[in-house]
């Protein structure tokens, strides 16, 4: 589990705060302890994202948040250079596939890493970023990955 007290960089001041609903509250707030949680089906076992009141695969209504390893792999990414706010630093937006099921992806930031060092296939681990009272799951290079 990453040290949540550590300074996370770069700053991304142009984040937009997501509206929290009964379906996704666990996702946006559950990272306070550094653990990534996603919805999963108690019957067929699949991870469900985005959250839904029923499993899209087996249609079971028995769905609940599950603790995950927080590890994954970069499927693709972009380095944003456009300064949406003045003097903004470049930052990476990536799509990360989760270790438990690589068909489940998160659009996220790769943080604590030079943007130019990010690559497809890079192993990453969750690093929550506090924002507006929420804990946004971002990712940092896993130990041993170039950074």
């Amino acid at each position: 589990v990453a040290d949540v007290a550590e300074k996370v960089w770069p700053e991304i001041p142009n984040r937009v705060t997501p509206m929290v609903t009964e379906l996704n509250e666990f996702f946006w707030t559950g990272g306070a302890d550094g653990i990534l949680r996603m919805l999963a089906c108690e019957d067929c076992g699949r991870i469900i994202h985005p959250p839904s009141p029923r499993c899209p695969y087996c249609l079971s209504a028995r769905v609940s948040p599950r603790e995950l390893s927080g590890r994954g792999e970069v499927l693709t990414y972009t380095i944003n250079y456009q300064q949406w706010v003045p003097d903004q630093e470049p930052y990476v937006i990536a799509v990360v596939a989760l270790e438990e099921d690589d068909s489940v992806r998160l659009t996220t930031n790769i943080v604590c890493c030079e943007p130019e060092a990010v690559s497809i296939g890079m192993p990453v681990e969750v690093q929550f970023v506090e924002w507006d009272g929420l804990h946004l799951p971002c990712f940092r290079p896993a130990p041993g990955a170039p950074a």
């Binding site: 997501p18 985005p50 693709t76 990414y77 972009t78 944003n80 250079y81 456009q82 799509v95």
Partner: protein
């Protein structure tokens, strides 16, 4: 396919307002200008119009959606049997699809379709997961996601999987700038060189400034009529051969299986080709969505003009997609260099080319005007396409 009902519909009239990067006229003013031009172009008066359609319609910001249907109905004092806007569906082209289905089913005879844009209004406040389709914004904007970044991640994966290069993609905006030089209405008409393209400011890698389209003000309108009006059209009627409007797999920006391409483009393209005997080789000109240049490359692949992953070599150096090439593409300069007419500018240009009204940029095929054109709209998770012909062919 047992019936291709859209073949009962034709495009009988085309109209465009003044367009520009930023012009000091309101959305209703521009809409009425393009609408009245389209009605006159169809040889009709407003009393003949019994249907009204737009995309995406009220509920979206005025600057993005143009005036509401009820306001246009009021301003033109229209008597309507059919009026409808929809925002969820296969992109802006769904407005034309709605109109075609209305005339094919007999609920209307002459449907006015308009699409108007007057600059963006960026909303403030929290992201609502209920109103942004497929979570395009909801799951990305907390991470600084943007319109360029959503398409850039697809380009990065395509470059990785297929060896596509910036030089290859750059042939698309360079070709369109060359076409725009021949279009007196275009916003950007000065030549663009490969050196300028490669040295341009990066927006969201690998997409640079010239990969992004031109925000502008303008309105484009059409009259969609029943095909039995074709003999009375003062201009060459544009036959609607087939629409492609499918969504079959997870359309989400990040959950779709293949992040290197647009599943929506592939599914809509396959749907369109399943509704016609025509083949990609029959297409004389292509008018493909170019909100970002890379999207045009994806549409070329999805529509079958080249193999999957072969879009880079296909467009390389631009000879195939040039006005004099085998598949002249975005001949008016498109959204990259002409003006962002929000998808439906591409249908207008297809109609002009098929009628032989494209002026200096007119395409010549087999010693005459083109006979078949393809039009596509859509980015990321949404995609729609249509095949149109000079004159009315085949039967429903």
């Amino acid at each position: 396919v047992t019936a291709v009902g859209e073949r009962n519909a034709i495009v009988s009239g085309v109209g465009m307002s003044q367009v520009g990067r930023k012009i000091d006229r309101g959305p209703m003013d521009l809409t009425l200008e393009s609408a009245l031009r389209a009605i006159e172009d169809a040889g009709l008066t407003r009393d003949d119009i019994d249907g009204l359609v737009t995309y995406p319609g009220a509920g979206y910001p005025l600057a993005q959606a143009g005036p509401a249907l009820f306001d246009v109905q009021e301003n033109l004092q229209l008597s309507l049997g059919f009026f409808r806007s929809s925002s969820e569906g296969p992109g802006p082209i769904q407005a034309v699809h709605n109109a075609a289905l209305a005339v094919a089913s007999g609920v209307a005879r002459h449907v006015l379709v308009y699409r108007t844009s007057t600059r963006s209004v960026i909303g403030k406040g929290k992201l609502d997961p209920h109103i942004y389709y497929f979570g395009n914004h909801y799951w990305a904007d907390p991470y600084g996601g943007s319109s360029p970044s959503r398409e850039a991640v697809m380009a990065t994966r395509h470059f990785h999987d297929y060896g596509t290069t910036r030089e290859q993609v750059g042939a698309i905006p360079i070709n369109q700038r060359r076409n725009a030089a021949l279009n007196p209405d275009a916003v950007f008409r000065q030549p663009l060189t490969m050196e300028e393209y490669l040295n341009a400011r990066m927006i969201s890698s690998p997409l640079c400034l010239y990969d992004c389209d031109t925000w502008g003000d303008g309105s484009v309108s059409f009259v969609v009529s029943h095909r039995d009006y074709a003999p009375d059209c003062p201009k060459t009627p544009i036959g609607i051969e087939a629409f492609g409007t499918a969504v079959r797999t997870r359309a989400s920006h990040d959950q779709r299986e293949d992040l290197s391409t647009m599943s929506a483009a592939w599914e809509s393209s396959a749907h369109m080709w399943s509704r016609t005997d025509l083949k990609p080789a029959d297409v004389d000109t292509a008018h493909l969505y170019d909100g970002f240049s890379f999207l045009t490359l994806i549409w070329l692949e999805a529509l079958g003009f080249c193999g999957k992953g072969e879009g880079g070599p296909f467009v390389e150096r631009g000879s195939r997609i040039a006005l004099e090439g085998e598949l002249p593409t975005n001949t008016d300069g498109g959204q990259l260099s002409f003006c962002r007419l929000e998808g439906l500018g591409h249908l207008r240009e297809a109609c002009l080319q098929l009628r032989g009204e494209a002026g200096e940029r007119q395409v010549s095929k087999r010693g005459g005007t083109p006979e078949v054109a393809v039009v596509s709209n859509g980015a990321g998770v949404i995609g729609g396409c249509m095949l149109v012909t000079a004159g009315v062919n085949g039967s429903a």
